[in-house]
C-alpha cells in the first residue's frame, strides 16, 4: 500500500516536472530584430533586415539600413534568418496524443456525414506533441477532423495557448470531405479477389454526396423547417464563409469533385492530398481551386511512378499558378507535423524556388485557411508571429531556433523532449 502511495506520489511529481510549457504573456514591450535575412513569406527576402513589433503586431519590416529608432528589446540576429511562423494545414495536432492509445484519440466521430462536428472542441492545447512543433518553427495549424464522407469542420489555432478558446485564431474555417475512390479493394473475407478493381458503385457514391448537398441547399433556402444541425453547418459553403476541403487523390476523382462542387455553387474549394493534381492543373486554375498537397515524404502511389513523383508535384502546381500549401495526412501525422519545414525544403530541392517553398507553409497556407489578413507573412499590421533561426529553416542543419514569437508573445522553446535531453545529458556529465 505504502509502495503504491509512493509511486503515485512519484508519478505525480515527475508528471508535474515535465508538464507543458506555460504560455507566454501578452506582449507589453516592443521587440526589434536586427541584421537577419528576413524571409517575408510572400516570396520576398530582405537581407540585413529590421523588424519591429509591439502589441502583438508588426510595426516595421524593412532594411536595417533605415535610420529609424529601434524599440524595446533589440535582438541582434546577424547571420540569422527570420521567418513568419510556419503553418501546418490539414493537421490533427491535439486531437490524438498517442496513436495506439484509443483513450487519447478524438479525431474521428462516428457516422459518415458530420459537417456539424467541430475539431476545435477536442483540440488539446496542452498536448506534448503540440509543444514539440515550436522548436521547429511550426507556430500555427489547421486542426482537421478525420474519417467518414464528411469528417467535420476544421479550425485554425496558434500553438501556444492555455486552452482551445485561447488557441483559436479562426474557428470553423471549412468543411472536410473524403471523396470516394474509383478503385476498391475486393472484400477478401467474402471470397472476393483482394486486388484493387474499379468500384462499380463509384458513380452512385458521388451522386449520394451531390444529393446530400442539394438537400442541404434546399433546407437552407426554406424557413419554417425543423432544425437540422448538419445541414445548418453547411451554410458557409454556399455563402463563402466556409471553404470546402475535398480530400481526394486520383485524376478522375479530382475532376469529378471539382466539377460537382462548382455545379452545387460551393464558393471556395480546396483539394487536399491531391496526389494527381499535377495532371489537372488547367481545371484547377479555371475554377480557382487551391491545393493542400500531402507531405512529400511518402511513397509514390503506383509502382511505375517516378521515385520523385511526390517531390516534384509542388513545382508543377506552383508553376501553373495554383495556390499550394503543405498538409499532413496519414501515418504518424501528428508527431511528423514538426517536419513541415523539411517538406517545403524537399519541394525546393526538386525544382521549387526556395522562397516559393517558404511561401507554401506561410502565406499560401494562410490564404487557403483564410488567415492571410493578419498572418502568414512579415508585413506591417499583421500578427508578429515569427521566429529566428540560426540558418536556413528548411534545412535540418539550419533549422535551429533561437527565438520565437506568437502574436508578439515570446514563447518558450522548451518541450518535454528538451527537458529530458538536458536532464540525461547532465546525468552523464556529472559522472
Amino acid at each position: 500500500m505504502k509502495k503504491t502511495l509512493y509511486s503515485l506520489l512519484f508519478f505525480f511529481l515527475v508528471g508535474n516536472s515535465i508538464a507543458q510549457q506555460t504560455p507566454a504573456d501578452t506582449q507589453t514591450m516592443p521587440f526589434s530584430i536586427e541584421g537577419a535575412t528576413a524571409h517575408l513569406g510572400n516570396g520576398k527576402v530582405i537581407e540585413n533586415s529590421l523588424i519591429i513589433f509591439s502589441d502583438g503586431k508588426l510595426t516595421f519590416v524593412g532594411s536595417a539600413m533605415n535610420k529609424i529608432a529601434r524599440q524595446g528589446t533589440i535582438i541582434d540576429a546577424k547571420n540569422k534568418h527570420v521567418y513568419p511562423g510556419f503553418i501546418a494545414t490539414n493537421a490533427t495536432l491535439g486531437l490524438v496524443e498517442i496513436d495506439a492509445v484509443k483513450a487519447s484519440d478524438d479525431e474521428d466521430e462516428i457516422g459518415p456525414v458530420n459537417p456539424h462536428i467541430r475539431s476545435i472542441i477536442a483540440y488539446n492545447a496542452e498536448s506534448k506533441v503540440v509543444e514539440s512543433m515550436r522548436p521547429n518553427g511550426v507556430l500555427m495549424a489547421q486542426i482537421t477532423p478525420r474519417g467518414g464522407i464528411i469528417s467535420g469542420t476544421s479550425s485554425v489555432v496558434q500553438l501556444d495557448a492555455w486552452n482551445w478558446e485561447d488557441a483559436a485564431i479562426k474557428t470553423d474555417d471549412g468543411i472536410h470531405m473524403n471523396w470516394p475512390g474509383s478503385f476498391k479493394r475486393g472484400r477478401w473475407w467474402l471470397g472476393e479477389d483482394p486486388a484493387m478493381k474499379p468500384d462499380t458503385k463509384y458513380a452512385e457514391n458521388i451522386q449520394e454526396i451531390k444529393g446530400y448537398l442539394e438537400n442541404a441547399k434546399l433546407y437552407l433556402s426554406n424557413t419554417n423547417v425543423e432544425k437540422h444541425l448538419p445541414y445548418e453547418a453547411t451554410a458557409g459553403l454556399f455563402d463563402g464563409s466556409k471553404r470546402l476541403y475535398v480530400h481526394v487523390d486520383g485524376l478522375k476523382e479530382i475532376t469529378d469533385a471539382v466539377t460537382i462542387a462548382k455545379q452545387l455553387g460551393v464558393k471556395k474549394v480546396t483539394i487536399v492530398r491531391a496526389a494527381e493534381a499535377d495532371k489537372v492543373t488547367e481545371l484547377l486554375k479555371k475554377h480557382n481551386v487551391s491545393v493542400i498537397i500531402n507531405r512529400p515524404h511518402r511513397n509514390p502511389d503506383n509502382e511505375d511512378d517516378a521515385y520523385d513523383a511526390s517531390y516534384t508535384i509542388a513545382k508543377t502546381l506552383n508553376d501553373a499558378g495554383i495556390v499550394v500549401s503543405v498538409g499532413m495526412e496519414g501515418q504518424m501525422e501528428r508527431m511528423n507535423t514538426r517536419n513541415i519545414p523539411f517538406y517545403a525544403g524537399t519541394f525546393a530541392a526538386h525544382g521549387l524556388e526556395k522562397e516559393e517553398a517558404v511561401k507554401l507553409i506561410t502565406l499560401n497556407a494562410a490564404k487557403i485557411i483564410g488567415i492571410d489578413a493578419f498572418a502568414g507573412s512579415l508585413e506591417v499590421g499583421k500578427d508578429a508571429t515569427l521566429f529566428i533561426s540560426e540558418g536556413d529553416a528548411l534545412e535540418m542543419t539550419g533549422n535551429i531556433l533561437t527565438d520565437a514569437f506568437i502574436q508578439g508573445r515570446k514563447i518558450s522553446l522548451e518541450t518535454h523532449q528538451t527537458k529530458l535531453w538536458k536532464r540525461y545529458s547532465n546525468k552523464y556529465k556529472s559522472k
Binding site: 474499379p198 501528428r334 535540418m396
Partner: protein, 986 residues
C-alpha cells in the same frame, strides 16, 4: 455412416463390372472379346516415334502390338482410321481429381490456436504425410468427362491440403470401369506446398519463412525418428519416412516460391519436382539452375479492358506485361531445355486447355515438346512407363483425332482409356465445312459451313444479301430452313462424294416438293484467307527486364572501371572530408583515392561541385521481402529472412535513388525471439541469392515491449503478456540452448533443432542480436540476462530510451540504432526524444540512424542531418550514423561503410552536401556497377510510358478482335513494418 455409403457404392460397381474371379448371380458368366485393331492411322507411339499408316492392336486394356506390319488376328475387331491420327492420351500429374479438400476447421474461440489438434502425429498439424487420399477418393464422372474431352487419360491426384500433403494416387479416367481397375498406383508421389491445412487452425507457421523452417525441422525429426531415437509414436514422421522414395511434387504459386522450395530440397538432398507458376520466363537461367523437373500451368490471363484511359493508367507495367509475356513461357522453358510437364491446374475450365496451348504454340512453343510435356515427361516424373506411350504392354490410353492434335481446326473424336472407348465427337459426323454453291428452286445461294462435328453451322447469302436461315447437321442428315420474304423453304439432305456435294429434297414456300443440291467451291480462297489472318497478327513478345517490372534493367548492370574526378569525398574515416579528390573504382572495389588519378579504360565522371560518400547502410529495413513476422510462436529463431528475399520490390530501386546500398532486412517484432536477418546489397535486378552478402555475418532479431506482449491484441493468450514474462522467456530459452549445445559438443547423438542451433550460435559468439527495444527497464533487463547467460547483445534497434541507460549500454558494449525523431505513436515511445542519438553518442555508444520504413530509407541522409539539429552532433559524426557506424554494428565495416582503398565500391555521388535537404543523388554505385543514375532514370520513365502505350494498343486490338478482357487492376504498395502480421494462406 459414411463408410456404409462407400461400401454400398463399391458393391454396386462390383456388380456391374465384375472382376473375373468374382462370382455372378446376374446370369451366365460371359467374357467380352476386347481384341481390337486400329488400322491405317498415323500413330504416335511416342512423341518421337511416329508410324505412318500403322496398326495398333489392343487387348484387355493394354497395347498388344503396334507397327506398320502388325499381324491382325482373325477374331480382332478392325477399326479403319484412314486419314486419322492416334496419340497416347495425356497425363496430368498435378490434380485433385475426385478428392475434396477438407472443410475449414471451425474454431469457437477467437484466440489463436498454438497447439496441434491431432494426437499421435507430428507437433504441427500442417505436416500431413500420413494422409492417404484413397479413402476420400470418389471418381468424379463430370470432371472426368471434361478431362477426357481435352485428351487426358490419366491423372495423378492428391489431397490438396497442407504443407506436407501425403501421397498421390494415379487414376485412369475410365468412367466405365471400377476403382479396382482404374487406380493404377496407390502411392504415386508425395505432395508438398507452402500452404497450410484447412483442417486445422493451428497458427504456426504464420509466414512463408515459417513454412520453410517447419519443413526443415520436419526432415530433421524424421531422420531422428528413423534412427529409433524417439520414445513416442509419430504416425506423420513414420509416413514421411515411408514416402521418402516417392517423387516429391512441390506446389508453388509464384516463381520466388519455386526457388525457395528448391533451396529447402537441396539442403536435404531432395530434388523436388516443382509445380510452377507460369512465370518461369522471368528468370529462366535460375529456373534451369534448379535442375528440377517442372509441372507448368497454362492459365494465361485475359487482357485488361483499357478502354477507359483514366482507369487504365492505374494498371502497372508489371501486370500488363504479364499478359503479353506469359504465353511465351512454354517456349522459353523448352528452348532452355527445362524438363517439364503441362498441367490443367489453375485453369478455370478445362475447356480452355487447348486454346491456351494453341496460344503457347502460336508464341513459338514446339509441338513435339508439347506432346512430350503431356505424355512421356509426366510419365517419367511419376516413374511409370506404362502410360504416356503406346509401346507394347503399355496401357491402351490413346486419342483419335482428325489431324494434328494441337491445331485449332482438328477434331478430337475418341479418347480410349484402358481399352475403353469414350466418344468426344462422333467419327461418323463428316466434316462438311467449306464454301458451297447451293441451288434450290432455280436460285443460286452461296453457303459457308463452319464449325466442328455436331456443331457445324452455315451462313447463307443470296448475292450480297444475308438470308435468315437455320442449319443443322445431325446423324448424317443436313437440315436447312431458309426464311425469305416469300416464306420458308425447308431442305433435308445428305452428303455425296465424301462431302464435296450435298443433296436432298426441298419443300418450297408453298409446300411443293422439289430437289436441292450444294457443291463445294474450290477451297483455295479460304486457305488464302487463313494465311492472311495469321500474317496480320504477328506475335510480339516484349522483352523481360530484371526485375520484370517498371524501372527494371534489360541487362543487370555490370562492374565497370570508374574514375570520379575532382570531387568532395566524405570518407567516414579519420581522414574526414577530402576536397578536390579523385576516386578510382575497379573490379568492384575502391582502388585508389587521391589527386590527379589516371586510369586507362575507366569511365570518367566529373565530380566537380559534387559530393561523394560511401553508400548508406540501413541497419533496420523491411524492404525486398515477402514476409516480416513469423508471429505464431514466441520464439522463432528457426526462421530466416534470407529465405524470403523478394528481388522484385520497387522499393529497392527507390532506396537506391536515395543513396542506400546495404540493408539489414530484419524479422519483425511480434515475438521476443524473432527470426534471423538477411543482409543485402541493393543490386537491383539480381536474384535473391545474389543480393544477400557472401559470408554474411549472422544476425537475429529479438524484441521487447508492447509488440511481444501482444499489448494491442483483444485477447492475447501467448506467453509472455508482461515485461516480467519476457525476461523469463529469454532465460528459459538460453538455459535450454546451453544444455543442447553441451550435448552437441559432447559428441553424443542429439536431435537437431534449428531453433536451438541458432541460440547456441549466439552463446558461442557466432551470431549477433539486433534487439527491438523502447523503454529503459527492458533494455537494462536484456543486458542483465545476457550477462547472466554469457552472451552479448550486439545492437539495440529503435532503442528510443537508450539515452536513459546510455552509460550501461556503453559498459555492455552494445550499439544503438535508432530513429532520428519518431515518437508518440504508442505508449512506450512517450519519452522518445530526438536527442537520443546525440546523448548515446556522447556516452560512447556506437550510434546508427535507421529507417524501419521503406520511405524513410530513401532519405536517411536527411535523418542523419537531424542529429545535428537535435543535440548538436558534428557533421562528420552525423554522417557516420548512416555509413560506417551501421556497418560496424553489422560487422561489415571491413567491406563497406566508408571510402577506403580495398573496400567494396559502394559509393554515392550527390549534387550537394549530402546532409542538405537540397541534396539529390546523381549516381548510386554498388560494387562498381551503376544501379541508379538520375539521367538513366529519366530515360526509363519515357520507356515505361512508351511500353504501356504499346501494350494498351495490343489490348485494345485484343478486345476489338473479340478477345476476352478483365477490368483494370491497381497494384497496391506493400508496407511492411516491424509489427506487420501477414497470414500464410491455407
Amino acid at each position: 455412416m459414411k463408410k456404409l455409403f462407400f461400401l454400398l457404392f463399391f458393391l454396386s460397381l462390383t456388380f456391374s463390372y465384375a472382376q473375373d474371379y468374382f462370382p455372378t448371380d446376374a446370369g451366365v458368366k460371359t467374357t467380352e472379346n476386347t481384341l481390337t485393331a486400329f488400322t491405317n492411322a498415323i500413330i504416335y507411339e511416342t512423341p518421337k516415334k511416329v508410324i505412318k499408316n500403322g496398326t495398333l492392336l489392343i487387348e484387355n486394356g493394354k497395347v498388344l502390338a503396334i507397327g506398320k506390319s502388325v499381324k491382325i488376328p482373325k477374331n480382332a475387331k478392325i477399326i479403319d482410321l484412314e486419314g486419322k491420327t492416334i496419340y497416347p492420351s495425356f497425363i496430368d500429374v498435378y490434380s485433385n481429381f475426385g478428392i475434396n479438400k477438407p472443410k475449414r476447421a471451425s474454431s469457437n474461440s477467437r484466440s489463436t490456436q498454438y497447439e496441434p489438434s491431432r494426437e499421435g502425429y507430428y507437433w504441427n498439424d500442417h505436416i500431413r504425410p500420413d494422409v492417404n487420399p484413397l479413402k476420400d477418393f470418389s471418381f468424379d464422372g463430370k470432371k472426368a468427362k471434361e478431362l477426357i474431352a481435352a485428351g487426358f487419360g490419366v491423372v495423378n491426384t492428391h489431397m490438396e491440403d497442407g504443407i506436407v500433403r501425403g501421397n498421390g494416387i494415379l487414376v485412369a479416367l475410365n468412367p466405365n470401369s471400377s476403382d479396382a481397375y482404374r487406380i493404377l498406383d496407390t502411392k504415386s508421389a508425395q505432395y508438398l506446398s507452402f500452404s497450410k491445412s484447412a483442417a486445422s487452425s493451428q497458427a504456426y507457421p504464420g509466414s512463408k519463412m515459417g513454412a520453410m523452417a517447419l519443413l526443415r525441422q520436419t526432415y530433421n525429426d524424421a531422420s531422428w525418428y528413423a534412427d529409433g531415437n524417439m520414445q513416442n509414436k509419430d504416425l506423420a514422421l513414420e509416413a514421411l519416412n515411408k514416402n521418402k522414395n516417392l517423387v516429391q511434387i512441390f506446389k508453388t504459386d509464384n516463381l520466388l516460391d519455386a526457388f525457395r522450395a528448391d533451396k529447402v530440397g537441396d539442403e536435404f538432398g531432395i530434388q523436388y519436382t516443382i509445380v510452377g507458376s507460369g512465370e518461369e520466363y522471368e528468370r529462366i537461367t535460375d529456373v534451369k539452375n534448379t535442375n528440377a523437373n517442372f509441372i507448368i500451368p497454362i492459365n494465361f490471363s485475359n487482357a485488361y479492358d483499357v478502354s477507359n484511359p483514366l482507369l487504365a493508367q492505374q494498371i502497372s507495367l508489371r501486370d500488363m506485361r504479364k499478359w503479353n509475356q506469359e504465353p511465351s513461357n512454354l517456349k522459353v522453358l523448352a528452348e532452355n531445355n527445362v524438363n517439364f510437364a503441362i498441367t490443367t491446374n489453375g485453369l478455370k475450365s478445362v475447356k480452355t486447355f487447348h486454346t491456351n496451348l494453341q496460344k503457347a504454340i502460336k508464341y513459338g512453343f514446339d509441338k513435339e515438346k508439347a506432346l512430350e510435356a503431356l505424355t512421356t515427361i509426366p510419365a517419367s516424373i511419376i516413374g511409370n512407363n506404362l502410360v504416356g506411350n503406346l509401346t507394347e504392354g503399355s496401357y491402351a490410353n490413346f486419342i483419335i483425332t482428325s489431324g494434328d492434335v494441337f491445331d485449332a481446326e482438328t477434331t478430337l473424336y475418341e479418347n480410349w482409356v484402358q481399352g475403353g472407348k469414350n466418344v468426344v465427337n462422333s467419327m461418323s459426323i463428316k466434316d462438311i465445312t467449306g464454301e458451297y454453291m447451293l441451288s434450290v428452286n432455280g436460285q443460286n445461294y452461296s453457303m459457308s459451313v463452319s464449325g466442328k462435328g455436331a456443331k457445324q453451322t452455315a451462313a447463307i447469302q443470296l448475292g450480297d444479301q444475308k438470308i435468315k436461315s437455320k442449319f443443322s447437321f445431325k446423324d448424317d442428315w443436313i437440315a436447312i430452313t431458309l426464311n425469305e420474304d416469300s416464306g420458308y423453304t425447308r431442305l433435308m439432305g445428305q452428303t455425296i462424294n465424301n462431302a464435296s456435294v450435298l443433296e436432298g429434297i426441298a419443300y418450297d414456300t408453298k409446300g411443293n416438293e422439289t430437289s436441292w443440291s450444294a457443291s463445294k467451291k474450290v477451297a483455295k480462297d479460304s486457305e488464302k484467307k487463313k494465311q492472311k489472318e495469321t500474317k496480320q497478327t504477328p506475335v510480339v513478345v516484349l522483352p523481360v527486364s530484371y526485375p520484370n517490372l517498371g524501372f527494371g534493367n534489360i541487362k543487370v548492370p555490370e562492374t565497370e572501371t570508374i574514375l570520379i574526378k575532382n570531387t568532395t569525398v566524405w570518407t567516414s574515416e579519420d581522414a574526414g572530408i577530402l576536397k578536390n579528390t579523385d576516386v578510382l573504382l575497379k573490379d568492384g572495389k575502391i582502388a585508389a583515392i587521391g589527386k590527379n588519378l589516371k586510369s586507362r579504360n575507366a569511365t570518367e565522371i566529373d565530380g566537380t561541385g559534387k559530393h561523394l560518400t560511401a553508400g548508406i547502410v540501413d541497419e533496420h529495413s523491411h524492404i525486398a521481402t515477402s514476409a516480416v513476422n513469423e508471429w505464431a510462436q514466441n520464439s522463432t529463431a528457426e526462421v530466416t529472412i534470407e529465405d524470403v528475399i523478394d528481388p522484385n520490390d520497387i522499393n529497392i530501386y527507390r532506396n537506391l535513388s536515395g543513396g542506400t546500398t546495404t540493408s539489414q532486412i530484419l524479422h519483425g517484432s511480434a515475438n521476443p525471439i524473432g527470426g534471423r536477418s538477411a543482409i543485402i546489397k541493393l543490386k537491383w535486378g539480381e536474384n535473391a541469392e545474389n543480393m544477400i552478402y557472401d559470408n554474411s555475418p549472422k544476425f537475429i532479431k529479438f524484441a521487447l515491449g508492447e509488440n511481444v506482449k501482444q499489448s494491442r491484441y483483444e485477447n492475447g493468450t501467448r506467453f509472455p503478456q508482461t515485461r516480467m514474462g519476457v525476461e523469463q522467456l529469454f532465460i528459459d530459452y538460453f538455459t535450454r540452448a546451453k544444455a543442447y549445445d553441451a550435448v552437441k559438443k559432447s559428441g553424443k547423438p542429439y536431435r537437431k533443432d534449428d531453433e536451438m542451433e541458432t541460440l547456441a550460435e549466439i552463446l558461442n559468439g557466432e551470431r549477433f542480436i539486433s534487439c527491438h527495444s523502447y523503454v529503459q527497464s527492458e533494455i537494462n533487463m536484456l543486458m542483465k540476462v545476457a550477462d547472466k547467460m554469457g552472451f552479448k547483445v550486439n545492437t539495440f534497434t529503435h532503442i528510443l530510451e537508450g539515452y536513459k541507460v546510455a552509460d550501461k549500454m556503453a559498459a555492455h558494449g552494445v550499439g544503438g540504432s535508432t530513429f532520428s525523431d519518431w515518437w508518440a505513436y504508442k505508449y512506450e515511445v512517450n519519452d522518445a526524444i530526438p536527442y537520443n542519438a546525440a546523448i548515446m553518442h556522447n556516452a560512447g555508444v556506437t550510434v546508427a540512424i535507421n529507417s524501419d520504413d521503406r520511405e524513410m530509407s530513401r532519405r536517411l541522409n536527411q535523418e542523419a542531418a537531424k542529429t545535428i539539429k537535435y543535440g548538436g552532433m558534428s557533421e562528420l559524426e552525423a554522417w557516420k550514423t548512416v555509413t560506417i557506424n551501421p556497418a560496424k554494428l553489422l560487422h561489415i565495416d571491413d567491406r563497406v561503410g566508408s571510402i577506403k582503398e580495398g573496400k567494396d565500391a559502394d559509393v554515392v555521388l550527390w549534387s550537394h552536401h549530402p546532409m542538405s535537404i537540397y541534396a539529390k543523388v546523381e549516381k548510386t554505385i554498388v560494387e562498381g556497377s551503376i544501379f541508379f543514375d538520375r539521367i538513366e532514370d529519366q530515360k526509363k520513365r519515357v520507356a515505361i510510358q512508351q511500353e504501356k502505350s504499346t501494350l494498351i494498343t495490343m489490348m485494345l486490338n485484343e478486345k476489338l478482335n473479340g478477345g476476352k478482357t478483365k477490368p483494370p487492376m491497381k497494384r497496391e504498395d506493400r508496407n511492411f513494418e516491424c509489427d506487420t502480421l501477414e497470414e500464410l494462406k491455407n
